[in-house]
Each structure stands twice: as C-alpha cells, then as structure tokens.
Assembly symmetry: C2
Homo-oligomer: 352 residues x 2
Amino acid sequence: MLSSRLNNLVPYVPGEQPQDKKYIKLNTNENPYPPSPLIDRFLKEISRDRLRLYPDPNFVSLREKIAERHGLDPSQIFVGNGSDEVLAFAFYAFFDTMNGPLLFPEFTYSFYPVYGDLFGIRYKKVPLTPDFNIDLSLMLQNGPSSGVIFPNPNAPTGILLSIEQIKGFLNGYRKDRVVVIDEAYIDFGGESAVSLIRDHENILIVRTLSKSLSLAGIRIGFAMGNETLIQGLFRVKDSFNSYPANTLSQEIAKIAVSDEPYFRQVVEKIILTRDRLSTELKQVGWEVLPSSANFVFTRKKGVHGKEIYLRLKERGILVRHFNIPGIDEFVRITVGTEEDTTTLLKEIDACF
Amino acid sequence: MLSSRLNNLVPYVPGEQPQDKKYIKLNTNENPYPPSPLIDRFLKEISRDRLRLYPDPNFVSLREKIAERHGLDPSQIFVGNGSDEVLAFAFYAFFDTMNGPLLFPEFTYSFYPVYGDLFGIRYKKVPLTPDFNIDLSLMLQNGPSSGVIFPNPNAPTGILLSIEQIKGFLNGYRKDRVVVIDEAYIDFGGESAVSLIRDHENILIVRTLSKSLSLAGIRIGFAMGNETLIQGLFRVKDSFNSYPANTLSQEIAKIAVSDEPYFRQVVEKIILTRDRLSTELKQVGWEVLPSSANFVFTRKKGVHGKEIYLRLKERGILVRHFNIPGIDEFVRITVGTEEDTTTLLKEIDACF
C-alpha cells in the first residue's frame, strides 16, 4: 500500500530526546539557558480564546520584527515550522536535477541528502579539506551544478567560513543558481552573510530560533533573501500548508527576536563556556576542532567516538556520535552551562 | 533561479484572515467558542524554560491520549502540523501515479489537487451526483486507480456519507490501495469510519483539532489507521521535519482531546445553531444543502455567489465564495454563535 517513493527514503535521525530519565543533555545543541523572560509574561496573559482562530498565514508582524532586526524589508523574509521546514521548501523551490547535481560538503548537516532523496534531487558530496574545512574552491572546480548548500559554521565540525571566503565563492559561482547558507549557528561567533544579500540575488540565508534564541520548542525558522526567492518559498508553502507557524509560536518568536540585550548576554556566556571547554579538553589531550558554534567536535586518540558516547551516557551525559566513516572517531558535545561543563570535564577525567 | 517544479504549481488559497478590521468571521469554519477552559490554566503555569528543548519528535503522550479517546492503540496514530500537513504526507506516502490516477470528488477540499501537483501525482475528479452527493459507485466504476480521498462530510457541501455507504464502497474497492477519509467535520453530526479500521487495513482517517476542538491556532491534526500506514507517514515526516509539532501545541492538544464533556457541549450548541440557520435561510427562500458540518452551503436564486459574498462583506460579515463553475452560485457560511447568526439573518433580510 505504500508508494514506491518510500523505497529510497532513508529518514534523518535526530539526537535522542529522552522523555523520562534525567540526563545532562549535550546532544542536540539546545541552549542551556531559557529564552527571553518577557515570554513568561506573554504566556501568563494570553487567553485561550485566541487559539480558536487560524494564525496569520503570512506571518506579517513576525516578518516585520525579523526584517527590522536584520536591516531588511519584510518582503525579504520567509518563516517556517523550524528551519528544517524552510530548508525542505528551499530544496523543492530552487534545486533542479537537470542542471547538474546539487553540491554540499561531504560532512555536514545530515538532513541535506534526505531532502534530496525526498524530492528526487541528485546531489554530490564535496570532500572537506584534510583539516575538516568546507572546500569552496573544490565546489567551484566542479562541473555544472544546480545549486549549493552549506551551513556556516559547518555542522558537526563547528568550523567557520569567513565572509571573505564566501564572497570569493559567490563571485566565482553562477549567478543563476541558488546558494543556500544555513546559518543555524552563526550567532555564536561568525559573521553573517546577510550583508551580501543586496549584491547577490542568488543567496538565501536560513536561520533558526532553536539555538541562540533558546526556542527549540516552538519550531520557528526563517529565511532571508531577495524577493524572488522568498516568493518561491511562499509558493511551495502555500501548496503544502497554509498555516505552518502556529499563533503562540509566532507571538513568542516576535518577543525573542526583539529582546536583543538578553540574547547578547546568553550568547556571550555560551561563547565563554565553549572556549573554556575547548581549552580544558585540549589540556587533557583531546583534539578539538576550532568551533564557532554552540558545540565542539572532539576526539581522543585511541578511543572510538561510539565508545566515548557510550561511556558518557552511562555516566548520565548525552553527547552525539555520528556513525559515519571519516568522522566516527569524533563526538559532538553541546556547550551547556558552566556547571554542566564542570561535571562533563570531571566525568571525562574519570573515565578516559 | 526557481525550479521548474514551480511552473505547474497553483497554490491553495485559504479564506481571508484579516489581521486588522473586525468582521463577523464566518469564512474559514473556525469554531465560535473558545477551546477547553483547562487550557488557560496550562498557559498560566507553563514556564518558558521548557521551550528551550526540542519537542517530543514521536508525540508519544499526545498519541496515547488520542488513542484512548478513539479506542485505538498509539501505534495506530500519527500527528502533524495541522491536518493539512498530515494530508500532504499521506499523498506522498500512499499515492503512486503508475497505478492509475488518484480519485477524489469533483467538488471537494481544494487542497487535494494542489498536493497532487506538488508531488507529481496524477488525479481524476469524479463528478458529484446531481444533488451534490459524493458518488462512490461512480468511483468504483472507474478504471484502475492509485487510491481515493474524500472528506466526510464533504466540503464545501457539508453533505454526509453514511457508514453503510462507506462500508459498501470499501468492500467493492481494492484492498491494496489506500482510501483516505478526511473527517475534519465528522464531529458535527456524522458517524466516524474509525470503527472500520479493524477490518480495513487500507483506510486512513484524518482529523483536525481546528474545528470541533476550537484550536485552529495551534495547528494539530492527526491520522488513524493500521500500523503499516502510520509507519509510512512517520517515514515521510522523518524525511521532512523531525519536530513538526511544537511543545505548546502538543500539550494543549492533550488537554483538549481529554476534555470530552466541554467538547460535547460546544458541538451540541453548534449543531443547534446550524439547524436554526438552515431553517431560517430556507424560510426566506434560500436553498441550503443538508449539512452535517459546522457550515452551510447555500444559494439564493437570481444572485451570484460572488455578489452574496460582496454584499455581506460590505456589511461586516465574511463568508466564503469559491469561484469555480458548478458551485459558484453558492456561498459557504460557517456556523457562528447564536448572536452571529441573528445578525447574519438580519443582514440577509436587509440586503437580499
């Protein structure tokens, strides 16, 4: 009874979300600090009566707030049910197979090949450099392609591309193919490519409220780019779900996006803790890739990544292991609070 | 820069959702009564801290509540970001083109052809009977098909198929093709086909919390069917968005699904008002199709549906008009409160 489409579909597997047992949860890059305190007031005051009506299908007031924060026009903003939905729509809207494969880095967000398979889009994985950087020049040397997508900083490595590297790439790449830059982690130390939208009509920047804004639970992501691309995304959205972003999430997102001072505070704390975590891991002989994200990608000579994951889980700490040859020695550890980090380092000391 | 996929896509157009001016809003079948009062308590008590974590990707506790209410096992339940998302996933998961076209009624929920176009699924519209009923025997007489989908009661007509009619159809149709029954409006007077799941492995029942449970704003829909079908839906979901239902919506849905006494009260009021509205419209010479939904589909001899829509809008009442030959004389009017209905009837009296 199932469609033949399902035969080739290998679903994405997210990090564990244990619903019962308490772990120090450093496996899905959630923010260890709560979102803006203004959200509590909103939740106390809202009446259930608003929930009987459909949400705004065009996200007008949320797009205004996002546009304001990023110095853009609301017509340059699209909103979705988490950045995963925005990314899926982007695959559908921009990437054709007949123009050659879609390009993305060999080790990157593992949902990209899944979206490709979902919509029948051919793709090619472009190897990283030996030190795990995204190799943009190798992408340029590739034959004809139907577009490019990469995260910046990359996941799960955490390594950042500079804005100059991205500019160089955009200048060398075709202007009539879309380049999606997935900036899920950009707030933790990178420079956003949002300033390049004016001069590059073919770039789409995708963001999430799940990481730096501590709102993984509300499922809001957005995209920024020129109006033609945004209208393309709306076209797909309007053919899939008129109302993908619910009323409460739209309202909460507006509050979070507007509370810049609180956001700065949270991000600074995480950056400090990340740098401490990297330093102390290196002091006990672990290799840590240079991270500009809210996680570190790290390995310990002589211990397989799976073994690291298992030993830490036994001790009540969840980290993420990817069982993929080439990066399977590593684990990805989300930056928690200072206390989480102290516990983590103590346990690592005890069991490795 | 846009994919050729977009060329053939004609997006669904939902009813207006005015964000500013106040109307009596009878155009999108929202419930005029608020959802369960228990939701207010939940909103007052929940802390923003929960929102920093991802929601349960498998909707475990919500599926338990839904299963309990409908006498099923949680493995027979799927949850999505509104029933529109559930329907879209069902199209992708079950309907192949190579087996012949997908069948649905000629006049029905206008998102169906859009999903077909989105995923490249060929479909065939099966005419209604002269009195606007879904013609199940005509569907059986059709050649090979890849599946069937219809709402019960149908939209926008509001006309119900009896459980016997559906049984008869299922007995005559192939067992290896999926039949999706979209029960968005079943609570307003129809008998659900949920009891047929045990004997019919090929039926999927789709429901929404947007209508009878007054929760259009939270975007939760669900599907009920045998485990193979449910697993197929999860496979598509996991290839599209790990977390389509946010934390607040899952929690609110659990409350609403469990508050049966409040639900009964609301539905009974709406049924009474619907019957009054139908009766009084007929008394002033309007034709009203027999409705088992929370709306009526009605026309007035000598006045085009568009004209009815425009005159009522001018008087502050929004109803829905479909500019589709064959049903364009009609308007669809959502059943509001008793007061809304009194005002509506007064305005109709004044301007027709």
